[in-house]
């Protein structure tokens, strides 16, 4: 029996482990699938990480090493190249690796920190052939940054999520010609600064309301047909344009990786694709917590670390038997606000609620209602789906039970 087992040794898993140790948990085991700790940060060699947490601009690997060094210093046990196969609702973990074979670990508490996966080509149903040269942006990033492959010479990128934008720059720096970034929506899903420093800096065109309608080539990709889409995101006939290229990168969304959560009988939020949690980041199964991109996809690793620290601390509180559940509040959204994390509040304390909006809204306010009573409101000049927002509800405004409705109101 172990006190705390953490599934995943990326930024979330490491920050959760360190916070749990800080809060007094001695017996911690991290299980990591990859060859080393660090998770996806190891392939994110660009800078811009850690400004919020460390007050300096770090590359992904540098940010990871800050945590790896601490995990080693605190002598937190971890196993790499270890794949977790299942978790039971009774918190028995089955895992496998080359030295231990298949083994089980019983845990008093578990923190899920498995991260997310990229939406693949198969999820898009783009017509055409199936040649080589089509990669998800993160796969291309790993091939280029960790294995040293050039990936391609002439590329089109579908989707303007941050990884796609970062890869547009990376491929350009490595001598490739990025001919266009096509985005289905009328706005980019990436951070404004990445549009500037990854596309504008290199005069790479960003084609909003455009998608790839056909893939050409037999052995290797020879080109793609792109077209403009209407308000219903259907291609507009007559707007097709052929672009020759040997590489198509897909940056079309990330999906929290929750197969293990489902094994454990954890209830998922259909919007986030991750577990529905309390402010302590506890899932519907007592003693199992979740944090980072397995819970909901974050824009910034700094916020992953922050959330993971909450989960680590909460797991420590759970292990001490000191959880306080003195309110029972369900958080509801209006559709314009797509989701909130947490989805429940069970403790009367100042609570930061993270959320994403469904479209771009200007001069709008986010209000929180309990019945007809407005508890809290916050104005924002601009909100966009690509940027996670948050509000902090003071403990004093929280009622004892019922629903908290999150409403977005635009100013007339």
């Amino acid at each position: 029996m172990r006190d705390l087992v953490i599934i995943g040794g990326g930024p979330a898993g490491m920050a959760a482990a360190l916070a749990a140790r800080e809060a007094g948990v001695e017996d911690i085991l991290i299980l990591e699938r990859d060859q080393a700790l660090g998770g996806i940060l190891q392939q994110c060699v660009h800078n811009g990480f850690g400004l919020h947490t460390f007050g300096e601009e770090l590359t992904g690997p540098e940010y990871a090493w800050k945590y790896i060094d601490k995990v080693v210093e605190k002598e937190i046990e971890y196993k790499t190249e270890t794949m977790v196969l299942s978790i039971s609702p009774e918190k028995v973990i089955t895992a496998t690796n080359a030295t231990d074979g298949i083994f089980t670990v019983e845990a008093r508490a578990i923190i899920l920190a498995m991260g997310c996966r990229e939406r693949p080509r198969g999820a898009l149903a783009t017509p055409g052939t199936r040649p080589a040269g089509i990669f998800s942006a993160g796969t291309a990033q790993k091939l280029m940054n960790c294995a040293g492959y050039s990936v391609g010479r002439e590329a089109v990128i579908l989707g303007s999520g941050d990884i796609g934008l970062i890869m547009a720059r990376r491929m350009t720096l490595e001598g490739a010609k990025v001919k266009a970034v096509c985005e289905l929506m009328p706005y980019s899903g990436g951070l404004a600064r990445n549009i500037q420093q990854c596309l504008h800096d290199f005069s790479i065109p960003l084609k909003l309301s455009h998608t790839v309608t056909e893939i050409h080539g037999r052995e290797r990709l020879t080109g793609v047909t792109i077209a403009e889409v209407d308000a219903d995101r259907r291609p507009i006939p007559g707007t097709e344009e052929y672009i020759s290229c040997d590489t198509l990168l897909l940056s079309v969304g990330l999906i929290p990786e929750n197969e293990l959560s489902l094994c454990a009988g954890i209830a998922l939020d259909p919007v986030t694709g991750g577990a529905a949690v309390t402010a302590a980041r506890e899932t519907s199964v007592p003693g199992i917590f979740a944090c980072g991109n397995v819970l909901h996809v974050h824009d910034l690793v700094d916020y992953v670390s922050e959330e993971a620290a909450t989960a680590g601390k909460s797991a420590a509180t759970y292990l001490r038997g000191a959880q306080e559940k003195n309110v029972d509040l369900l958080l509801r959204t209006d559709g314009r606000i797509r989701y909130t994390v947490p989805q429940k509040i069970t403790e009367k304390a100042d609570t930061t609620v993270y959320f994403r909006v469904a479209a771009v809204y200007r001069n709008a306010s986010v209000s929180v209602y309990s019945g007809e009573k407005r508890l809290f409101t916050k104005k924002r000049a601009k909100m966009a789906p690509g940027e996670m927002e948050s509000i902090t509800l003071p403990a004093s405004v929280l009622p004892e039970n019922g629903e908290l409705r999150f409403i977005l109101e635009e100013e007339k």
């Binding site: 060699v45 800078n47 400004l51 040293g148 720096l173 600064r193 420093q197």
Partner: protein, 112 residues
């Protein structure tokens, strides 16, 4: 001139007006944004990151300070000529550039 600040993830929309030798900046959420806008109008700079071969693996590298934007591709040429030898630690200098920045290791590799 309309700019998007790249200093932090907020990505403030900035306007910069050049009047002779002085640049007036508006829209910045912090002093770093003002500095960015001034640089952008006079001498835009960027940090360059990449990876270089190190035995069987690759070492992430970066310029330890931003370099002039116009020199990004010259900097990449220098990076392409580099190989690292383990052990190597974050901050180890691999190359000194003519632009006041060093190309340094941005990862740790213990053994060869």
């Amino acid at each position: 001139m309309n700019l998007t600040c790249i200093i932090c993830p907020l990505g403030c929309s900035l306007t910069a007006e050049i009047c002779g030798e002085t640049v007036t900046v508006a829209g910045n959420g912090c002093p770093r944004g003002a500095e960015y806008a001034k640089n952008e109008c006079t001498n835009p700079v960027r940090t360059v990151t990449a990876t270089v071969p190190c035995g069987k693996t690759r070492l992430p590298v970066k310029t330890d300070r931003p370099i002039p934007k116009a020199e990004i591709f010259s900097c990449m040429d220098r990076i392409h000529r580099l190989t690292a030898v383990a052990p190597v630690k974050i901050g180890d200098i691999l190359d000194k550039t003519p632009w006041g920045a060093n190309i340094v290791a941005a990862g740790n590799i213990e053994e060869a």
